[in-house]
Subunit: 338 residues, 2 copies
């Protein structure tokens, strides 16, 4: 006789990332061409890159000129745009040039427009977010978002030279409140005044965050915690069409994976091995996502990206760093000391 | 009853590397200081770095001003200097500056001196070398060394922008005769006219060598064969005192390991997996050796380097690229296609 067994429903609350940043029009020149007023902005790239992993709550402001259909497209990806304020005026507009150096944009113009009066207001639901990513905006705004969130599990943050120069004190105060900082190598040195990446990263880890991501452009990223260093190469691609959004989509896939695993700062204490293993995976996923992003202007490549394509490239990148553990140190012949 | 078993002695011919290149005095300025007429030269760095792995036969020319004691010191490392010609005149002298960019030396002066009339003449023993490394010298001299060697198992070669510009045809002819080419990223693009590293490396592999090492300065090295790509990061160190010789000592440790394993071009055909596994190990060893080299001026750091130090850093570098295979692609959650 088969007895009916009552199985209690498991209430799974899907981990959501709350992300704040800019939605923008980007006019970009690169060695591969030019695009006028393409869709962009840090929180756009971040959210689109995170959306295959977890739902995203997006906090931003756009002008009346931002296409409604594009907001609706985000919704189809599991990105809630209820936190996107549509303000009177034009959307933030950035004009940049990568013709001299694909690793570093030259900003030609910045039109803040409606972004100038952006004051993120969180809904009740958003206040309860477990995962938060503070895109690269004014540290005051980043503080204000964090002030409104109740007990998040893990907070990531991006910043840039502009804020290191202009609002260093507020940025430093923010570092004490976050778990993960993502900046590029030069910015790490600028933030700490150190000439060397090892020194700079050790210094930053003393400032607050327990996880530091140093973005290295075409060379990938370095992950630093107080216990470990992980060096992840960029996926080598044939043609970099437009580097815009590489860092933001890197962060999106990384945070997306971490949220989907339920990683938290508690895990770092309880199981450092699992914590670091997830972080390393997440960094590789960030590298893979960024490699797709730069293959076309705007986030056009991400629009068509499939899970199979992502997995294939992740698998390929993994194979490019693998070392045969059997031919490890034992096989090292060292005849004598020099 | 225990019967005596006759065990035939295994005749092991220790694999030796024949290496040709410059022995020099280097006067170098770096952000960390200045050294006048320090010992240097590509074949010095190469041989010292290879010597912990296998014996080295060195082919070079020095002037009467080169310290005899330093040649004797090389001998204590298992480096034969019977192929070092002591000519009338002064030793090759290079004056360089890394103050603007640690990744690229600015050559201030080059005094060829006795090097101008260098004509490598191989001994009978040297002609039978299984492993050959042609350091960065005039392609005509590289050809002449190769002309004198009888059926080597594996030939590596270094070159630079100067020869790509000045002797492209001779360099291209040389590429058809070698197994491994080691150059830096910029030189790879210059050699092929390609703007992209992936394209450039594919092109170079069509020119002859089956193994390409692209040196990336502080970012490590990329290994390319027709089948595989391996991305090796540089070991992150606190203070780069003098980058001189990084590439040569990288090549030395790499070729040293390959020779000690008995790697040959035949292995590539017979057991591609073993071939690539050894290559990857060798590239990591190159990265580790280079990281020690740059910690002091000249090859001063290599003078005191112990096998334990080398192994510890190799182990550390390996840990910085390791991915937990159990948390592999299966754990990737991808909710839907974007």
């Amino acid at each position: 006789m088969i007895r009916a067994i009552y199985i209690a429903p498991v209430v799974t609350k899907e981990n959501t990332i709350l992300s704040v940043g800019s939605m923008a029009f980007d006019s970009v020149s690169t060695p591969e061409g030019k695009r006028e007023s393409a869709l962009g902005g840090s929180v756009n790239y971040f959210s689109i890159a995170a959306s295959p992993f977890v739902p995203v709550e997006l906090l931003a402001v756009v002008g009346k000129d931002y296409p409604q259909a594009e907001l609706e497209w985000l919704n189809t990806l599991g990105i809630s745009t209820s936190g996107v304020k549509i303000a009177d005026g034009d959307t933030f507009h950035w004009v940049g040039d990568y013709c001299d150096d694909l690793n570093e944009a030259k900003t030609l113009s910045t039109f803040l427009n409606v972004f100038e009066h952006f004051k993120p207001q969180l809904s009740e639901k958003q206040r309860l977010s477990d995962y938060v990513f503070l895109g690269n905006i004014d540290p005051d705004l980043q503080h204000s978002v964090l002030d409104q969130v109740e007990g998040p599990k893990f907070v990531g943050c991006d910043s840039m030279n502009f804020w290191i120069t202009g609002k260093l004190d507020r940025l430093k105060a923010l570092l004490e409140r976050i778990d993960l900082l993502s900046i590029n190598e030069k910015e790490a040195m600028q933030l700490t005044g150190k000439k060397n990446l090892v020194d700079a990263s050790e210094q930053i880890l003393k400032m607050g965050p327990s996880v530091l991501i140093l973005k290295r452009g075409e060379y990938g990223a370095m992950l630093k915690t107080r216990e470990q260093t992980f060096l992840a190469p960029a996926y080598p691609i044939k043609t970099v069409v437009d580097p815009t959004g590489a860092g933001d989509s890197f962060a999106g896939a990384m945070m997306g994976h971490l949220a989907s695993c339920g990683l938290s700062r508690d895990l770092a204490r309880k199981d450092s091995k699992a914590f670091h293993s997830q972080l390393r995976q997440a960094v590789l996923m960030g590298c893979v996502m960024a490699s797709f992003t730069v293959e076309d202007f705007s986030f056009d490549r991400l629009r068509s990206l499939t899970g199979d394509e992502f997995k294939a490239r992740l698998s390929s990148l993994r194979s490019m760093i693998e070392i045969d553990s059997s031919s490890a140190l034992d096989s090292l012949s060292w005849r004598k000391n020099v």
